[in-house]
């Protein structure tokens, strides 16, 4: 008997229930269901008026509502509400049957509660662990950027990377998270983590036109919830990534106070606002529902939300700061400041690649979403394709492959695949990565020779240009195999097929391409424009740049009192 019930929880519910029901004392199930419905009707208004309860202990997150099969079909049959729908009668019948069966098999329903909780637990583990991988990218960025500069600025680079994590985290804790995800439950509830129902208010906008989230400030109240904080951990390390990106373009000349201001601005305002539009259920993501633009703006893991925001913020800051002293000769010809530690550069790049295995596959927020294997392989393929084309491009163009450019090529491939990694095939990933590898080389040369924006580590080309390109790639290469119902579009059918997902230009969805073009370009305008406006003003009030003497000496000792590579102290006494 018990065994039967366990099997029945294994999602062969209807037949098993009808088999076991005859063994139980016969109860008139229609009466039960009527009572239940009546009870629900009396309860519904009060429930709707109440705020959803937070769950800091995590003991109320994950029940039978989250018990679903591989196809996403729920164990619980929802009650149909629209009486005019053509399939109302059939759905109502299914619902009534479910209610009756649930009343007759309470143990199966309890088991489904456990299954649902376990599912949420699995997804928590996945999301947190991949978040830790992304956190480790901090070490990669620190090594990469430090290796790429002159050794007189080693301590400066290490301090920037370190302080970025610290101060950006605090700003995100205070306001950033609430701005970005304060309304996520309205349009983009992370159901894999329990849905975070408490984050349900837009500060600006409403419905499909939300512009700014408004709950969860200081992670108190509605933010003090197990599901929400799982999301917080994962999202804060993403924000940190945008935070480090700017280091690569503004280092070797920015004062420490100005840098801290930049970090607070990125973490508290710049990043969360665009993040809200795309990931927080904001208006860009809902363009599919509101303006019939395919699935709305889609950025899976943040080519634009994280990388283009960071890259173009970095560009605005680099323009305001101006090039490093001596970067351009009197004739305007660029001079090189060669990397001082290639071992750091390569090690840092590999740590970033490793961290990206959390960045992209983790963005499912669900280990039960088996697309993660495709995402992981796609991510790696784009990385190696980008590194290969950058290496070969430099080999042909300058006679020798430049190792720093090869590393930039790998990162370019990673940045470009980040938006589309879940929606494209491995073949498309190689193509996207390969194009990004060339794009980053051309971008670095363009910055250095044409517009003369001094970018010591190539952050603008890697994260800015390739981030924009990556977001567009969703609208070109997405093949429709994944993302059915994305942003609430096409839950039953899309392009005439049930289960059809996000689709790009070459697979027949022009609107998706247009939407990506609009969204990615808006991202560039927002990140560059907002940063330029704010920090142009700051720079007018007080120069954000160190004095020429400090810059020539190296920032280590004047700013932090210690050189990166101090000589051993020689003392007269033994």
């Amino acid at each position: 008997m018990i065994r039967n019930q366990f099997e029945s929880a294994g999602l062969r519910v209807p037949s098993m229930w009808s088999a076991t029901s005859s063994m139980r004392p016969c109860i008139a199930w229609p009466q039960y269901s009527i009572m239940l419905v009546l009870l629900l009707f009396t309860l519904l208004p009060t429930v709707a008026a109440q705020e959803p309860q937070r769950d800091p202990a995590g003991t109320a997150t994950g029940d039978k509502q989250q018990a679903v099969d591989a196809g996403g079909n729920s164990f619980v049959v929802a009650e149909p509400t629209d009486k005019t729908a053509p399939d109302y009668a059939a759905r109502k019948k299914a619902y009534d049957e479910y209610q009756a069966q649930a009343a007759r098999e309470p143990l199966a329903t309890k088991l489904a509660d456990s299954v649902g909780h376990l599912r949420i637990g699995t997804n928590f583990s996945w999301t947190l662990l991949t978040g830790y991988l992304v956190l480790f990218m901090q070490a990669g960025f620190a090594l990469l950027t430090c290796g790429l500069v002159r050794k007189k600025n080693t301590a400066h680079l290490m301090m920037l990377n370190f302080a970025a994590y610290v101060f950006a985290f605090l700003a995100y804790y205070a306001i950033g998270y609430a701005f970005q995800f304060g309304a996520v439950a309205i349009n983009a509830a992370p159901v894999s983590l329990g849905g975070t129902p408490t984050l349900n208010k837009f500060l600006i906008g409403s419905g499909g036109w939300g512009f700014l989230g408004g709950k969860g400030f200081f992670l108190t109240g509605p933010g003090y919830d197990a599901g929400s904080l799982c999301l917080t951990l994962f999202e804060v390390v993403f924000m940190e990534t945008a935070g480090y990106i700017i280091v690569g373009a503004i280092c070797e000349r920015i004062t420490f106070w100005a840098f801290l201001l930049c970090e607070l601005f990125v973490a508290g305002i710049l990043y969360p606002i665009f993040g809200c539009w795309v990931w927080g259920g904001g208006w860009l993501s809902q363009l599919g529902s509101t303006m019939n633009l395919a699935h709305g703006y889609v950025d899976f893991a943040g080519s634009s939300v994280v990388h283009a925001v960071g890259g173009f913020c970095a560009m605005a800051l680099a323009v305001i700061l101006g090039p490093r002293l001596g970067k351009y000769g009197p004739d305007g010809k660029p001079r090189p400041f060669p990397a001082h530690n290639l071992a750091f550069v390569v090690t840092g790049t590999f740590i970033l690649l490793f961290g990206w295995m959390g960045f992209n596959p983790g963005s499912t927020l669900a280990a039960t979403d088996l697309r993660i294997s495709v995402i992981a392989v796609n991510t790696n393929l784009a990385a190696v394709a980008g590194a290969a084309t950058a290496m070969v491009f430099w080999y042909f163009r300058f006679g020798k492959p430049d190792i720093t450019m090869a590393c930039n090529g790998m990162l370019a491939g990673l940045v470009a695949i980040t938006a589309s990694c879940a929606f494209v095939s491995p073949t498309s990933s190689v193509i996207i990565g390969a194009i990004a590898g060339i794009l980053v080389c051309v971008g670095v040369l363009f910055n250095e020779r044409v517009i003369k924006v001094d970018d010591p580590c190539g952050a603008i080309a890697v994260h800015g240009y390739c981030g924009w390109f990556g977001a567009i790639c969703v609208g070109i290469f997405a093949d429709g195999t994944y993302g059915s119902g994305w942003n609430g579009v096409g839950t039953t059918a899309y392009l005439g097929n049930a289960g059809h997902g996000v689709t790009g230009l070459i697979h027949g969805d022009v609107r998706q391409f247009l939407c990506q073009l609009i969204g990615a370009t808006l991202c560039v305008v927002w990140a560059f424009g907002a940063t330029y406006g704010v920090f142009w003003t700051v720079n007018r009030v007080r120069s954000m740049r160190v004095s020429p003497e400090v810059e020539l000496e190296g920032l280590d000792v004047p700013q932090f009192g210690l050189p990166g590579y101090a000589e051993d102290m020689i003392s007269a006494e033994a």
Partner: protein
């Protein structure tokens, strides 16, 4: 007494040291230096910007010797530091007034 200063290719240091030992030179001082002569530097590119490597890494050897073995020492260096290509380096011969050993205060050739 003479001081022999020689600028040589770094990878030939061991060969030169062995050759000097054969002609009974008992001590030497070396330093890592950078410089250029007729060889000049060479052009490289870093992230798309061309630059000249003006100064090439070299090793400078300094040995102090009695006058009578000057020819042997110079010949030993010539033999061991020679490749025949640009950048083999130079030898300078400089007269020395006095040599003093700090430990014993000996002077002259006895202090070498």
């Amino acid at each position: 007494m003479k001081k022999i200063e020689a600028i040589i290719r770094p990878h030939l240091l061991d060969a030169v040291r062995a050759a000097l030992q054969e002609v009974d030179v008992r001590g030497m001082t070396i330093s890592e230096v950078q410089g250029y002569g007729r060889q000049r530097g060479h052009t490289e590119t870093y992230r798309g910007a061309e630059y000249q490597i003006e100064f090439v890494p070299k090793i400078k050897i300094e040995v102090i010797i009695p006058d009578d073995i000057e020819d042997f020492v110079v010949n030993a260096i010539l033999r061991s530091a020679h490749t025949g290509k640009f950048g083999d380096g130079k030898i300078f011969v400089i007269p020395i007034e006095d040599v003093i050993r700090i430990r014993t205060e000996e002077r002259g050739e006895a202090a070498i």
